[in-house]
Symmetry: C2
Subunit: 311 residues, 2 copies
């Protein structure tokens, strides 16, 4: 559907309930809250469905928008959610509109505004708000900046193209305090997280003259650092900081003694082929699998498989 | 001077020698090399003065532009250089034009194009190139993206305003491969650097419920990690990642057994006052001093002084 069709559809309805995805990030929460605010400015009742998995440092962003108990929606919208499995049970069959940027969107909603070329869902919401109101409010701009900065890794990932930067410029012009929001998003690690990164970087296992690196996260490390699940976001990207690395693999020991493997390729190697050998899968540049046994054994098996693959 | 005056001045001359500042970063090197390329496109001879302190990972950016031995310049330009003390000896009295964005520029050049509102010198060069040629070449765009991303910390620092993002968008449109350049700039730590960060984060000393944090870097840590001076950039910023921190201090043990102290404030505290008590100085939010004795003693003395200051 076009964005004009989407706006027309929104304007025909009222009493909006906006759904965000499981393990919500800045994009789904910022997009949902900004859409809520813009719909309210258009005279509508609009609320976010309370997402119980919202991290503490995002809670104040969504607080003004949370639906009260017993709210009966007239129209249900999901934002930034590719699959109905990522929505709270109870709403899975009821989504009338989905606004998303994931190419993998399964089309579960009655209607979908999909812009797979957008780095973030926030940019799609920004464009809707600009059509509806001319420009976002400072608060909407801040929420959408959070969305954009989250999904581009503060403009570091390769999805941060010219359009993402142009959206950032418009959001800052509209009042987003990018410096303060960046500090909050990217310079606010818990002591446990920093401790854990310290342990991970101190114990990297580097092979093939730096082309292959393993990061190992054991249950003991998590315990000793006092790390909770919130402290374990994006661990798979950490060993990718090594200069010249081609394959980087993060091995996380599970409660049950097995190891969860996240493998990444810097471009040349096919880590999906690697993970498929162990019953896993994914994409060429990012894949995963689960191995039985301790982390040391997992490193050995993966290393042997990698060497076979490139032999 | 206006940018039109600056362009007119450049077009009147030939045989350009472009100077970059001591311990050159991506901004001075990217700005200088892009200006060189644009002057060559305008039919001029133009070279960079070889800067012996150029880091290995920047060497290929500047290689096509380095002045041959014995090159006799007709016009000398300094870029991104606030003070003549930062230039190679021999050229300090000869600078005919300086193009810079530092508010602290001392006005040492015969003429100065100063844009103190620009996040990077690269944006000033971009605007000159756009006036001269319409748009940068892909290579110039890449060089200027390096400049811009370096000085804004990949758009994370508070100087990354709307204009910086708009410049980034134009550079990407002109052919800069931002994703690849970001990986090179921000995901290419040496193994020694990662090891060192690991040791630093594993041994943070956290006080006042996380409002004060010390990072300690000893000679032994540097030795054990195999860290060279190149691996020690920006260590002072690392403990600033702690959520809610107000004062963060990095203590680096020197060869001679003294400690170099870099103190930073997240906004409220005056670390300049703190460092002045120990014979140092700086700015309210970033200051330094040197203390005799081992790191542990330095932590104790600074902690006591901080507590007195806030008592």
């Amino acid at each position: 559907m076009t964005s004009s069709d989407c706006l027309a559809l929104l304007m025909q309805h009222d009493r909006f309930l906006i759904l965000t995805h499981a393990r919500p990030d800045g994009d789904t929460l910022g997009s949902g809250a900004a859409l809520c605010s813009a719909l309210r400015r258009a005279g509508k009742a609009a609320f976010l469905y309370p997402n119980g998995q919202t991290a503490a440092h995002f809670a104040d962003l969504t607080a003004p928008y949370l639906a009260p108990a017993g709210f009966e929606p007239g129209f249900v919208v999901a934002v930034d959610t590719a699959d109905v499995k990522l929505l709270a049970a109870g709403w899975t069959g009821a989504v009338q509109l989905c606004i998303d940027h994931h190419p993998s969107n399964t089309g579960y909603a009655a209607q979908t505004l999909l812009r797979a070329g957008s780095a973030s869902c926030g940019e799609i919401i920004l464009s809707l708000i600009e059509q509806l109101h001319g420009a976002p409010t400072p608060e909407e701009a801040s929420l959408l900046y959070v969305a954009l900065a989250t999904d581009t890794g503060c403009f570091q990932h390769s999805n941060a193209g010219a359009d993402a930067h142009r959206a950032a410029a418009r959001l800052i012009d509209a009042g987003a305090d990018a410096g303060a929001l960046n500090r909050r998003l990217f310079c606010s690690s818990s002591a446990a997280r920093l401790q854990l990164e310290g342990r991970i970087f101190s114990s990297l296992r580097i092979f093939h003259e730096g082309k292959t690196v393993f990061a190992v996260v054991t249950q003991q490390m998590l315990r000793e650092c006092g790390a909770a699940e919130d402290d374990c976001d994006d661990l798979a990207t950490l060993p990718g900081r090594l200069r010249g690395v081609e394959v980087y693999i993060t091995i996380r020991e599970q409660d049950d003694g097995s190891c969860r493997v996240s493998a990444r390729s810097a471009g040349r190697a096919d880590v999906c082929a690697l993970c498929r050998r162990f019953g896993g899968g994914g994409h060429v540049l990012a894949a995963g699998c689960t191995l039985e046994g301790p982390p040391d054994a997992a490193v050995e098996r993966l290393l042997a498989a990698l060497e076979e693959q490139t032999a």
